[in-house]
Every structure is written in C-alpha cells, then in structure tokens.
Amino acid sequence: MTAILTPSIVDGSPTLAEHEARFGALPRIPPDRLLAMIEASGLTGRGGANFPAHRKLRALAARHGRKVVVGNGAEGEPTSAKDRTLLAANPHLVIDGLHLVGQMTGAQTRYLYAPEIPYAAAERGVHYVRSPRYFLAGEESALASRISGGPGLPTYKRPPIFDRGINGRPTLVHNVETLAHIALIARYGPDWFRSCESRLVTVTRSDGIPRVAQVPVGTRIGDLVGRGATEVLVGGYHGEWFPVSVAAGMPIRAGILAALGPDRCGLVETARVATYLADESARQCGPCLSALPLIAEALHRLARPGHQPGVRERLERWAGLVSGRGGCHHPDGSVRFVRSALRVFAPEIALHERGRCRARTFEPLLPVI
C-alpha cells in the first residue's frame, strides 16, 4: 500500500511552477494521438461507474457544435474524500487533464465543479462553478442543471447530456481523478500507466476518520480494511455491504470503503444512513419522495431490539415499488444499499428479534454530513 494523504496533511497546493518542475510542462499532442493513448491505457472513469474513458471522449469528439467539458469534484458522498484531497494536493494535474479532454473533444468551454475553489483554477483558464453540498450534487444531470444556472437537481434524461447538456450544448463530465490520470498518461504514456495503474480510495475504519490512500490496481479490500473489521460497505451509500470474509479477497473497484467492527450494529448504521438518503432526495418524483422515508423508518424499527412483525415485508414492498421509478438513480442506489444490509445483517435482525443487540458503543460510524 502506498502513500496515504488526508486533507489535514496537505500543506498547501503547489504553484504552477512547482507543478511543472515536478511533472514537466503539459505536452502538446495531437488530439487523435491523445485519444489513442487514452484508449491504449485502458483508463476507466473514477467517478464510480468505471466506464472506459476513451468511449465517452470519442462520443463527444464525434458531436458537432460548441461543446462543453466538466471536471466533477462535487463529491456529495459523505464517505468519500478523495476528490477534495486530490484538488488540494494536485489541482494543476486535474486542470491539465481538463484541458487535454477539451483538446481531444474539441470543447473550448471547460468547467471545474467543486465545493471549494482551488485557486489554481483562476490562473489556468477554466471556469469554476461552486457545487452545492448535497448528496446528489455530483449527479451528472444535476451538475449540468447547476452550471446552466438552474437549481442543481437531476433532470429528465432525454435527450442525453452528450447531445444536450449545459446550456443545451453537447457536454462531457469526468471525475477529477480521471482527469488527473489523463494528465499523467499524456506525459508518461499508456504503457507506463498500465504498468503501475493506481486508484484513490477513501477508507473509514472504526475511528470514523476518512483517510485517502493511493493504491495499485489489484489491491484487495482486505489489505485496507484493517484487522477486526467484520463487515465492509463498498462503494458508499449507493454501494453494498459485504462480510469481510467474503470481501477481503476482492480487488478494489470502487473508491470508497467503510469498515464495521463487532462493537457496532450494522442495522443501526444503515438506518441512520437511510434517513440521510431520504432527506437527500431531490423531491421531484413521487415514488422516491414517498418511499425512502418509509423505508428509513422501517429500518429504524429493525434497528431496535424487539419483535417487529411485518416490517421486512413492508420494507421489501416499498423497495420494489421505488426501484427504477425515479428521475435519477437515487432510489435504485438507496435500495441496493438497504437490501445488502438486510442480507448481510440478517444475523443481527434475528438477534434483535430476541431482544438483544451486538453493539457495545453508541458512537456513530458512518457520517451523514
């Protein structure tokens, strides 16, 4: 495992001169050759979907008109700190990537979307737009809405953003970490990238402090969660719980891990997060607005020791009614998270039915701000 960075140990962002002294000046490479390098590198997006980066780039390059590219550092997920850490430690690398993406796609308009302005952005010719601190702030259509001057809530997905996005223009959105990798591939080449590909992962262990690690691809979940962890939440609040016995051998493909120990109850943690997810609904779609609070309340019931007849059945009914019926993936992701909790913490549900709970501390683990 390699360097661990947290915002608290980042002294101050490097200047452009320091950045160029360390990495060299931004290379001038013809767009077609750059696209080929990105494809050869096999780079996948670091925003959670792991989609091949070159495919999105080529999709926008093929479109006509005045195009827009965005570096997404909104990071609305409370358990993730990698994007703000990267923007503090290496903003110029991200902006390099944004300019390279603009060149590859023919997009002259370049935005950086993040909760705090990296002052590096001011001197490099990108527009900065402050992202609000909502869970859904980083959702692609919400981002496009905000940058277009709207409320920053998800919008109906037709037409797709690469046809009509920001101000009606073809738009491409990349996570800021993806942009940083692009900036490195341009300098050192796809073979270098393949030989030492890494990803940023935020790990939260029993002390509740998120720490960001840069790890080689292929690192396993078990390498990061620490001894004593019994369950791990993989992929944040739209991700899934796994027993550590199952997940330890899995290679890391998501950028967020939160490890639970035997002294806490996963149902209590999940119920608290479910309330947060309900509160963070954009409140635009009836099923989401109606079902998520009910699901959260049902989870709070299951989180209390005592006999709870019918709660699981009602919860499953609401989950089935809301999944896939929102304007964005908030209900689907939330249901995936909740269902995984019901699977993995089935022993705790049984324990609660008998009036007991495994928790030895009331201190919450998973953050809801």
């Binding site: 919008t155 037709r158 009836g286 109606s290 009914r317 009614l321 019926r325 304007g327």
Partner: protein, 66 residues
C-alpha cells in the same frame, strides 16, 4: 415496431388520469403514481394509449415509436 409508453417521473404529479384511461397498461402505486408498462402497445390498444398521453396535465407521458 409497436410503440412504447415513456413516463417522465420528474414531470409526473400523480394526478392519475393515465391509469383511468389506459387501465390495461397503467396502474397506480401506493402513493398514486403510475406504474407504466414498458411492453409494446399493440394496434388495438393504441387509442387508449393516445387518450392517456393526451389527458396528462403534466405532459409526463409519451408514446415512442423507437
């Protein structure tokens, strides 16, 4: 190709006219919002489908040939 119904959950306000006019393919959930079937609409049901689309006050329903 038979067309399919396309539902915009953001525009939808749960008024329910669609379910009244096209009960074969639209029912309401526990909260009054439509569960819209994504099966292709055959010719004999097209009139009811078009009535549902036209009646929606929020323009949340469309019939798509693609």
């Amino acid at each position: 190709m038979d067309p399919k119904l396309q539902w915009n959950p953001i525009a939808c306000d749960g008024r329910g006219l669609c379910a009244e006019l096209f009960a074969e393919r639209i029912v309401l959930d526990d909260w009054g919002y439509p569960l819209v079937s994504d099966r292709p609409v055959p010719p004999e049901l097209l009139r009811d489908a078009r009535a549902a689309v036209a009646a929606c006050p929020m323009f949340a329903l469309k019939l798509n040939r693609r």
